[in-house]
Symmetry: C3
Amino acid sequence: MRQKTGMIEVATERQGLVEITGAVERWVRESAIREGLLTLFCRHTSASLVIQENAAPAVRRDMEAYFARIAPEDPAAYEHDDEGPDDMPAHLRAALTGVQLAIPLIEGRLALGTWQGIYLFEHRRRPHRRSIALHLIGE
Amino acid sequence: MRQKTGMIEVATERQGLVEITGAVERWVRESAIREGLLTLFCRHTSASLVIQENAAPAVRRDMEAYFARIAPEDPAAYEHDDEGPDDMPAHLRAALTGVQLAIPLIEGRLALGTWQGIYLFEHRRRPHRRSIALHLIGE
Amino acid sequence: MRQKTGMIEVATERQGLVEITGAVERWVRESAIREGLLTLFCRHTSASLVIQENAAPAVRRDMEAYFARIAPEDPAAYEHDDEGPDDMPAHLRAALTGVQLAIPLIEGRLALGTWQGIYLFEHRRRPHRRSIALHLIGE
């Protein structure tokens, strides 16, 4: 059994979903591990990781609009606003969607379904550099 | 250290929670691994995995009703409706609950609490065949 | 490759976030594993695990208030109330935030970001003893 750890950096420009499936698959391929478990961990409290449909762009727009509605930028709703009105809703959206994913690797391929992509979900309005820690174990 | 990968197929008939604890435990038992980590990954964007109470059926009914309320089937709310009014809410409910679980295996048993069961959460109205990838590592 | 399993017990006094980063880091350090993967699993259906900001206390208060709003203690909203009005909302909040986390261990440190802490999120009003199963694999 072998393992590999590492980091992927993602530059975000605005709120929304950024697909990272390709970058993650490249990192896995370089390991030459073909059977095992990949774990991704987003090292931030205002960005998160989600598996979502990689086909229809409308799904991504609807998802961004939905999280803007259920955890709205409403200054009256929150005590914490150190970094502006998008600060606290960003923490809430990250808590609702989660910062960690684990995906089995089977016969040299991540076990993603046909329509699944891996996305970083940026919850802040301004550009950020986001860091995702990776761990892969297997053989 | 050893590992095992595989798939479990689950036939769903309608929206709602389907308990899969027994099938998962059988798959783990066949491996003869007694100490390790089990990971489950639902290969769909309109079904998800949750740990929930396996005792009172009312908990499942309340949970199904709750997710129907916070991510409602409201055609006016979404741009995406390629597969009908239950399509986009299904993606949202999957994003809120998550498609992946990891459970330690300790002394031959999954470390589930007394009242915890593993559930596939079907978010589409029509019957589906759902595929869950599994990974187990340990010894 | 080596692994370690174990349990951490957390006494909670009321609803809200309880930081457990220190206890988890101590458990990892005792293993002398320096590169690997840590998994935490909360063995309850009315408490959960979240990664959140460990700096501003207002973030924790806002988060507690938010989950009280989106999954409210409203007896009229739920069928299940075997253990009182905070029972069903507790299950919902646990499903929304999740009971499991996995964090890579890199060069002897959990790959947490600067502002990230690990929290047990207690969703019941009364004091409870909560049990978290841990699994660490690596070398």
